[in-house]
């Protein structure tokens, strides 16, 4: 096998992995803090891509969409947590699980009604349309480079938020022991609200970034939700670093198997997950069952 093919495929894997990372962070932090298995996460991802289509149709400006979509869908997430999920806390994990499961279908249907059942084209923004040709190594599309850079930036910002700010301290403590936060005077409901909004905003950003790389259609969130769950399980629930590494790992494994054994590319990530779980049941960077 030629080196250039492998290099390009690795690069594709990292870009794909970046999307998984953005998606799994929200999934993982929402589960870690709220105890909610968010089955609507894939639908928020899909909604993000369509919100991008809409923004682009209205303004024609990709950069505006990049800023507006996470805010818009993040706000939708705030509403969902506040009015649909919050009444279900304290009734066991199956209630929010069923609710988000149904909500996912509602969002998909809403998009089908508004935008039709067919896929939508989503052009690569003209500024990023080209690529970089490295002699002897291959052609690397600029847009994928951009996706990787945005994800790295988001990870850096999240790390700063978590480690350097009081909100980060609240999130880190709340993931371990939410009750102690209310004992110490914090309104934990507000923390959960913001965490849910942040997670859905990141899912929408992932959907928007993926739109020019993968096709935009109402079902695009279904497969990716499974992929995000796999990443979250491999990385370990509640670990930012774990999510980042597992996302890249899954992206690379999926695209390399697509190169060598295309028929195995979907199965490969499950094989990876099985392997990791056999060796480390709590995931690569998970804490296991504490408390």
């Amino acid at each position: 096998m030629q080196l250039d093919l492998i290099a390009v495929q690795l690069f594709t894997g990292v870009a794909l992995g970046a999307v998984f990372v953005l998606l799994s962070i929200g999934l993982s932090v929402i589960f870690g803090m709220l105890g909610v298995v968010n089955f609507a996460h894939g639908a928020f991802y899909m909604t993000g891509a369509y919100a991008g289509v809409f923004c682009l149709a209205v303004t024609g400006n990709f950069w505006f969409a990049l800023a507006a979509v996470p805010l818009l869908i993040g706000a939708l997430g705030l509403g969902v947590e506040r009015f649909l999920i919050r009444p279900l806390y304290g009734r066991g994990p199956d209630y929010p699980l069923l609710l988000t499961f149904g909500l996912g279908y509602v969002l998909v249907e809403a998009v089908r009604i508004l935008f039709g059942t067919d896929g939508m084209p989503f052009d690569t923004p003209s500024l990023l349309a080209g690529g970089i040709d490295i002699e002897g190594l291959g052609y690397f599309p600029a847009y994928r480079l951009f996706v990787i850079a945005v994800t790295a930036l988001i990870l850096l910002l999240l790390w700063l938020l978590l480690e350097r700010t009081r909100y980060g301290l609240i999130i880190r403590a709340g993931a371990r022991d939410p009750e102690i936060l209310s004992i110490l005077g914090l309104d934990i409901a507000r923390v959960w609200l913001l965490v849910f909004g942040l997670g859905t905003g990141l899912a929408a950003l992932a959907g928007l970034l993926a739109a020019p790389m993968r096709s935009v259609n109402p079902e695009m969130g279904v497969a990716v939700l499974v992929e995000a769950f796999v990443v979250t399980v491999i990385g370990g629930m509640g670990s930012l670093l774990g999510g980042a590494i597992a996302g890249l790992l899954v992206g690379i494994v999926v695209s390399l198997t697509a190169l060598w054994m295309p028929q195995m590319s979907t199965i490969s990530m499950f094989a990876l997950m099985t392997l990791v779980l056999l060796i480390r049941p709590q995931g690569l960077f998970g804490r296991g069952l504490s408390r």
Binding site: G90, R166, L169, I170, R172, A173, R176, D177, E179, I180, L181, S182, I183, L184, G185, L186, D187, I188, R287, S290
Partner: protein, 239 residues
């Protein structure tokens, strides 16, 4: 007589069908140390968790500093001036000693400078914590963790502090230090409700005491009287 700082009346609590508090009433005046004793499973922890609003299934009235707080969420009870040191200490793993202390200040909305000064003050008062501010908090010894939990609850300068078995699993020398701290806090005007398995200790430093048994107050009175009366202790406080 002026109204007590904390006035609990006819408190009931259930865990599922189990009716574990059956009409508990107690009051604590400002500046008092009041002990709440009783054998394992008597309902001591449930009583103070209910006072903090942490028991879902409850009835009864809780008045604090002249206001009915029985329907308020836990964080609002903190805001009213109730500090609480829970039974299992609840030191947050993964955070340093300093970060655990900062948790006690989050709701106060201080700036970074004022926060730093408050933590410096704690470091002076509890030198053992002061030397270990950067250490991961769950690596502290049991006694140090208890001091950390108490210090964390004191940082917001509450009017009253509820302590659930602070002496549990702590070496005797530290227990004396802790008793000294409680007396010193009272001299500074603090009010304390002290739940203890160590009945001797609790009665020695408290002004009044309530004895709880099977979710009911079975005895109340001056601590000195109880201390002098071995029969009540034998009947209700045997472990």
């Amino acid at each position: 007589m002026a109204e007590a700082l904390l006035e609990v009346a006819d408190l009931n609590a259930w865990y599922g069908p189990a009716h574990v508090l059956q009409g508990v009433s107690l009051s604590v005046a400002a500046g008092e140390i009041v002990a709440l004793v009783g054998r394992n499973g008597a309902g001591k922890t449930t009583t103070i968790r209910a006072v903090m609003g942490l028991i879902a299934n409850r009835s009864g009235s809780v008045r604090f500093a002249g206001a009915a707080i029985g329907a308020r969420p836990t964080h609002a009870r903190f805001a009213a001036g109730l500090g609480y040191v829970p039974e299992e200490r609840r030191i947050v793993p993964g955070l340093t000693v300093r970060e655990n202390l900062r948790l006690g200040l989050l709701a106060c909305g201080l700036g970074a400078a004022a926060e730093g000064r408050a933590i410096d003050a704690v470091a002076q008062r509890f030198p053992r914590l002061g030397e270990r501010l950067g250490q991961e908090a769950i690596t502290l010894s049991g006694g140090e963790q208890q001091m950390l939990a108490i210090a964390r609850a004191l940082l917001s300068q509450p009017k009253m502090i509820l302590l659930d078995e602070p002496s549990e699993g702590i070496m005797p020398a530290l227990v004396d230090e802790m008793a000294e701290l409680f007396l010193e806090l009272r001299r500074g005007g603090m009010t304390l409700l002290l739940v203890e398995q160590n009945v001797e200790l609790a009665l020695e430093i408290s002004d009044r005491a309530y004895v709880l048994d099977q979710g009911r107050v079975v005895h109340e009175g001056a601590s000195l009287t109880l201390l002098a009366d071995p029969t009540i202790r034998e009947r209700y406080c045997g472990v």
